[in-house]
């Protein structure tokens, strides 16, 4: 018998099951294999999607989801009541407080790292180590309908790392980065090509490619290459999403700052059929003036995010949209001499809601001064399982890529059952 240890490396997944099928099959990675039967894992009934708001730099849990006013490290902000009796959050989130009944809070995250990079990938991959696909890639692969009119995983960010988001999954599920509310890079031709000419030469390309692909018969490669143009075409067809200024009324609601504009685009992308839209809000790495900066950042986030939440709710999309508000870690309880808080993966929070999530719940707690998790410790593994269980994906199942089978969620972790609706 084998223990399912949930250790992370790919080779765990080169399972006996795959080997029994014959060693040749196991080694024919991505060469002669057919295009994957992704449909089998797709949720056929209704498209589900993710709105992921990433508060980059590490939002302070004490200034957001887990306030401790009046305690040693509580800082200057007060806690306020919310629409859910018994749940109190920071006064910096007054709009969210009124909508708390749509969201739940996890207050007991301990990821045991204080590194931006490690924290980020742990929260995204649900694995502490090893190269695994990001939340958005997994969503794009298993939740996006074949007929989707946009790339499955789109990330609106003004900065950001060059992440390997798709790991061993096909590159068509990798994040497509949008530089803010602007169109993706190269969406417009840099020279004088007319639309007709672009279409014409692209059709010629397709014809030439097909002729070659038909002769070599390695669809795993040639189909992926061709699909990259199909995705590009889809983006081009939706160019309008990125054009023109939003109506003044929308800008007034969302805010005319970059985050406001980014969230308007995020909504448009979700409405247009993208499966995971990640919006990064920068500016939480507050090693100095934590309170002044959180005051401004969270004011921007709170109002804007709530407009987006309202729109999803009003259009009926919230039921099928998992909403995540996350960071790579939280911030130290201890306030440093620059009125800053530093990196802190030991005891922090996030919020989530929408599709499949029980609303108005609080999971876990930290101790009185917020220096440690007191109850129900969880980390990136449990959260990852929770997201996809909420979306109806069996995370104990495997990524079935040719020759290998890799557990979707880390087998040493499991979903946070009390959060699942």
């Amino acid at each position: 018998m084998r223990r399912d240890t949930g250790c992370n490396a790919i080779d765990h997944a080169i399972s006996r099951r795959a080997m029994l099928a014959g060693s040749a099959a196991a080694t024919a990675v991505g060469v002669a294999g057919k295009v994957l039967p992704a449909e089998t894992k797709q949720l056929a009934t209704q498209q589900k999607r993710i709105l992921q708001v990433f508060l980059q730099g590490g939002v302070s849990q004490l200034e957001s989801w887990d306030p401790k006013p009046g305690t040693r490290y509580g800082g200057p902000f007060r806690a306020i009541d919310t629409s859910v009796p018994g749940i109190r959050i920071s006064e910096l989130l007054p709009h969210i407080a009124q909508r708390m009944h749509h969201l739940s809070i996890v207050r007991s995250i301990n990821i045991k790292t204080n590194s931006h990079q490690q924290g980020h990938v742990f929260m995204e991959r649900g694995r502490r180590a090893g190269v695994f696909p990001y939340i958005g890639t997994v969503a794009a692969k298993y939740l996006a309908p074949k007929t989707a009119s946009l790339p499955g995983f789109m990330h609106i960010t003004t900065r950001g790392l060059n992440d390997n988001t798709n790991a061993f999954l096909p590159a068509e599920f990798a994040q497509l980065k949008l530089p803010g509310a602007a169109a993706p890079e190269n969406l417009k031709h840099s020279g004088k090509l007319t639309a007709d000419a672009a279409k014409r030469r692209n059709e010629l390309r397709r014809r030439l490619s097909q002729r070659f692909s038909g002769k070599v018969g390695q669809p795993a490669f040639t189909d992926s290459y061709d699909s990259s143009y199909t995705l590009a075409d889809k983006l081009l067809a939706k160019k309008g999403l990125f054009e023109g200024d939003p109506p003044p009324k929308e800008l007034e609601r969302y805010g005319s700052h970059p985050f406001g504009r980014n969230c308007i685009v995020a909504r448009k992308l979700l409405e247009a059929g993208s499966t995971c839209v990640k919006v990064t809000h920068h500016g939480y790495d507050t090693h100095a003036e934590n309170f002044n900066f959180h005051l401004e950042q969270l004011a921007e986030f709170d109002k804007t995010f709530c407009m987006l939440l309202d729109d999803l709710h009003d259009s009926g999309m919230l039921e099928s949209t998992l909403v995540l508000i996350m960071s790579e870690f939280g911030r130290t309880p201890k306030i440093n001499q620059r009125y800053g808080r530093d990196h802190w993966g030991t005891a922090w929070s996030m919020a989530l809601g929408g599709c499949g999530i029980k609303p108005g719940a609080v999971v876990g707690m930290t101790n009185e001064e917020g220096t440690a998790v007191a109850e129900r410790e969880v980390d990136g593994r449990h959260l990852f399982h929770t997201y996809f269980r909420a979306l109806g994906l069996d995370t104990t199942d495997h990524h079935d890529i040719p020759g290998r089978a890799i557990p979707i969620g880390d087998p040493t972790g499991e979903a946070i059952g009390e959060l699942l609706a």
């Binding site: 730099g57 006013p69 009046g70 040693r72 800082g75 200057p76 902000f77 007060r78 003004t158 900065r159 970059p258 920068h282 500016g283 790495d285 507050t286 090693h287 100095a288 003036e289 002044n292 900066f293 005051l295 401004e296 950042q297 306030i335 001499q337 620059r338 800053g340």
Partner: protein
Amino acid sequence: MSNAINSDEPAPPALPEDAPLPIDARKTHVAAEFKHDFPLTTCRIDPTGRFVFAGAEDLNVYRWSLTEKKEGDKPVAKTTFAGHESWVRSMDFSPDGQWLYTGGYDDHIGIWRADDAQPKPVKMVEAHKGWVRWVRVSPDGQLLASCGNDNLVKVWKLPDFELVQQFEGHKRYPYAVDFHPDGKRIASFDLMGVLKEWDMETGKELRSMEAKFMWGFDLKFRADMGGARDLRFSPDGKTLAVAGLTEVTNAFAGVHKPMILLVDWDAGKHRQKLKVDSYKGMAWGVRFHPEGFLVAVGAPQGGASGALWFWKPGEEKPFHTVKLSHCGRAVDLTPDATKLTIAQFDGKLTVYQMTEKTAS
């Protein structure tokens, strides 16, 4: 007694025995130290010189006596002013020292009897939507000016706290306000380095000046950093001193340099920018000493070497610097200007004497 500063100078004449010791900033030394177990946010000495008050991160204000003789090892008694729900960063008094006004990050101004044995707020006034960043009493004691995170500067009539003026115009948080000594005008300074002058009579903005070098935009983090950490008119009203920062290179790591800006008020020009180039951090407090020099405190970006600087106007470098045991957050002078107090990050409230040490 030796006078080693300049051996060419003749020794000063001997003083009569009961005369106060002359001010000599170079002789500044610790006269007393009060300890608290939370970081302090600010400090003020009341106009009678009886007490020093300090705000702390535990949301309270504390009072120590400056006149009480210390008996043996027993620490000087500390009195707690509890009533705010957030930090107090600014305080002021009625001219007679009977009333204490506290501006809190809980949007409220607290009104207290300064010498209460068991203090309770007489009143808590909801003064701003968002932090009350600064409070200042007018020279005649009739008015109190405040500013806060609603971007407003407000003027209240004392003692009943009737709102008599509201100045709108700052686009970002005003950090501090001060009355001109003529009592007719108010100055305020905001996050972006914008300095405004307001007319008490008409309620109009008189002037708007900029000190953009006391603000920085961190391109990487897209964040503004700036504002006044202290703001003071000189007693003659000719100069306004602004304590804060300059040369922001990384807002989120707190990489910048301290700055004291002296504004020639009548001309509306920057008279001098006092910097300490070798020092990274923030200037948190500034006072005009009646003998013509400036006193300022600062906190470093890292390490514990807080600084107390003494400047002569017109000179580029401080003529004297005292290293503090930790970051200084505020400085204030006793009415006789022989002593100053400093609120520190490590919870210490330090009293310095700016004269020769005496035997006692």
